[in-house]
């Protein structure tokens, strides 16, 4: 029934337009899915509810995919869920494998998105209970685990990874404290009252610093010759073999993280990346251009987008900023999301779910042929690309809030990012700690308030205890490994 509804010509057309528009919006740094969906709300007033929501869902998915395009090609993360894709995706592009990277991003997004929609169709009502069982201690344990997993992406030095994460948390403290209303580290600047904008930090830390590093040796070629033959534009058999596990894990992790209200595509993407690295036989190669480093986060962020629909449709609780905007749109059109939505407006709900399938298919159809075009972009000489990257970054960052202060943030973090690259500090933990920081702090303080200051609360509740244990294990694992190796060397020596 859902497919019947979704397949009307009008709905198909608008879904197509939605995904197209979404991809273009996602490609521009700074303007993410939330803004894209919000811009569209007035335009959809004239449509009927189903068509409107289908369009907006298309934009949402399209923007997810668009963000990964610039991440891979230019090391410019379009929004927070694409940050992890830069780590291996950009490295692949530098080695001439931009086509397979883009292809795998599209395909894993499609596969994971389809998986999420399947799960949504089959077990949405059952998931409602799971979503509600997460209280502040569980959220703290989850985000703490996310942080420890991310700091393990420190490359050579876990110590520097942790320092990077701590710096990110410190930056997250800037602004008005949500719980007490106290202004922290704002240096009497009105601009800092709302905190440091994520997009300025991410674009500065990744894109601008990368340009600066490349500028040191202007004669050196940045992108290895990218081949344009059809075969080299798409992932080959070996790529598929490497990515299969990543796809499964990424989809599952993404979906279950996405279901949790408040945890969305961003957290899902780097949990999937970190988990993939831990499960891999060649963890040290992550960050140099492994295809599974693209498949895992890309799959996870699309799967999370599907998962985020679960609390929206079953409980009426929006799981993320974008779903909140979607919920607003639903209400404007006279539909009240919640447990009754399935029974009161079944044609709408199933139409929406079916349109998510169709949206995924449309993305693939639209984007696979475009890969050749995108890859051609890399053939432009870097001396022309360089000003382009800086300008797109600066204007994109400015466009988020029409505030020139954001560009100053980008400048400042571009400098910091350059220094960090020189000193071998990984940028990813900083930016991800910045995203997670508010949630970490809020859930920590809420939990401690609940428990009257006792840390027991994290260990007495089952879900929280499990997650905290995993977090602590992954934090101290490198230390244990070093000590264990020394112990073994000590045993071997006397035997000689």
């Amino acid at each position: 029934m859902g497919f019947q509804v979704a397949s009307s010509w009008e709905n198909l057309l608008f879904c197509f337009l939605g995904t197209l528009l979404g991809t273009l919006i996602g490609v521009l740094p700074g303007i993410g899915p939330t803004t894209g969906v919000a811009i569209l709300i007035p335009i959809t007033f004239g449509m009927n509810a189903t068509t409107a929501i289908i369009t907006m869902a298309g934009v949402y998915y399209g923007a997810m995919y668009g963000g990964s395009t610039t991440s891979i090609l230019l090391n410019v993360p379009g929004e927070s869920s694409s940050v992890m894709t830069t780590l291996d995706g950009y490295q692949m592009a530098k080695k001439g494998r931009a086509g397979p990277a883009l292809g795998m991003a599209a395909l894993s997004s499609f596969i994971a998105g389809t998986f999420a929609v399947l799960m949504l169709t089959l077990i949405a009502p059952a998931l409602a209970d799971y979503a509600v069982s997460f209280g502040p201690p569980e959220y703290f344990a989850l985000t703490f685990m996310g942080l420890t997993m991310v700091t393990s992406l420190g490359g050579d030095s876990p110590l520097k990874g942790i320092i990077s994460g701590i710096l990110g948390l410190a930056v997250a403290c800037i602004g008005i404290d949500a719980i007490s209303g106290e202004a922290r580290f704002t240096f009497d600047s009105i601009h800092l009252l709302d905190g440091v904008g994520f997009i300025g930090v991410a674009v500065g830390l990744f894109a601008v610093s990368e340009v600066l590093v490349n500028m040191e040796a202007p004669m050196k070629r940045v992108f290895t010759e990218t081949k344009l033959s059809i075969r080299s534009l798409f992932p080959n058999l070996q790529d598929w073999k490497d990515s299969l596990g990543a796809l499964w894990r990424g989809s599952a992790i993404g979906f279950f993280v996405g279901v949790l209200p408040g945890a969305g595509a961003t957290i899902a993407s780097f949990m999937a990346y970190a988990a993939e690295r831990k499960c891999s036989r060649r963890p040290e190669k992550f960050g140099t251009g492994l295809i599974e480093g693209v498949a895992a986060p890309e799959g996870a962020n699309n799967s999370a987008a599907g998962g985020a629909m679960v609390p929206l449709l079953t409980l009426g609780i929006p799981g993320s900023g974008t779903t909140a905007v979607l919920m607003g749109a639903l209400i404007i059109h006279g539909l009240r999301p919640g447990p009754l939505l399935f029974s009161a407006h079944p044609d709408f709900v199933w139409g929406l779910i079916a349109s998510m399938y169709i949206g995924n298919v449309m993305l693939i159809i639209q984007n696979m042929p475009m890969i050749g075009l995108w890859v051609r972009l890399l053939k432009v000489p870097y001396k022309i690309l360089m000003p382009l990257i800086i300008m797109i970054s600066a204007v994109g960052v400015f466009a988020t809030d029409n505030n020139i202060f954001d560009v100053w943030i980008m400048f400042f973090f571009g400098l910091i990012g350059y220094l960090m690259q020189k000193m071998h500090y990984p940028p990813a933990p900083l930016v991800l700690a910045l995203v997670l920081g508010p949630m970490v702090e809020r859930s920590l303080r809420q939990s401690l308030t609940l428990s009257h200051g006792s840390l027991d609360i994290f260990f007495t509740r089952p879900i929280s205890a499990t997650l905290t244990a995993i977090a602590l294990l992954s934090l101290f694992a490198p230390l244990f490994r070093i000590l264990w190796n020394r112990y073994r060397k000590g045993k071997a020596a006397p035997a000689q």
Binding site: L169, E182, L212, M391, M423, R445
Partner: protein, 152 residues
């Protein structure tokens, strides 16, 4: 790398001290739970501990490390400074010069002064970049871009 690590360690230690100092100045934790100084204070402590470990491990390392000098030579560094300086000026002058003029000048600067390209490619790139950005952001997306006092 060894010297660089020690210097960064000291800088981070100073930062940790600043965090703790600021945190102690905030209202104390009350019965309602941890106050606003809670997290910054503990971040300061962790950061201080980590910086000390960093300085210690760097000092104990025997040689300077096989990866060579941290920063590029004079010419490379100068280029980086030029780009950063240009970006700073660009951001500063945005409101005064307006988007169109500012972008054109900045791209021309990057192409001409920093990269020393011929005036033809300088002009063309600056023109095309400004035009494309203007069309995409202002015309297509409807975002208001800064204008100077002459209105463009």
């Amino acid at each position: 790398m060894k010297k660089a690590d020690i210097i960064t360690g000291i800088v981070l230690l100073a930062l940790a001290g600043y965090l703790m100092q600021e945190a102690l100045g905030m209202p104390p934790s009350r019965t309602f739970g941890p106050g606003s100084g809670f997290l910054p204070f503990w971040l300061g402590i962790i950061l201080a501990a980590l910086s000390l470990i960093l300085i210690a491990t760097a000092s104990l390392r025997r040689k300077a490390g096989p990866d060579g000098p941290v920063f590029p030579g004079k010419e490379g560094l100068l280029t980086v400074v030029k780009v950063l300086g240009g970006l700073a000026l660009f951001t500063l002058l945005m409101e005064t010069l307006g988007f169109v003029v500012n972008t054109f000048i900045f791209v021309a600067y990057l192409m001409g002064v920093v990269q020393r390209e011929g005036w033809r490619s300088v002009f063309l790139t600056a023109l095309l970049t400004t035009a494309c950005l203007y069309i995409v952001f202002h015309v297509l997306l409807g975002i208001a871009l800064p204008r100077n006092m002459f209105g463009f």
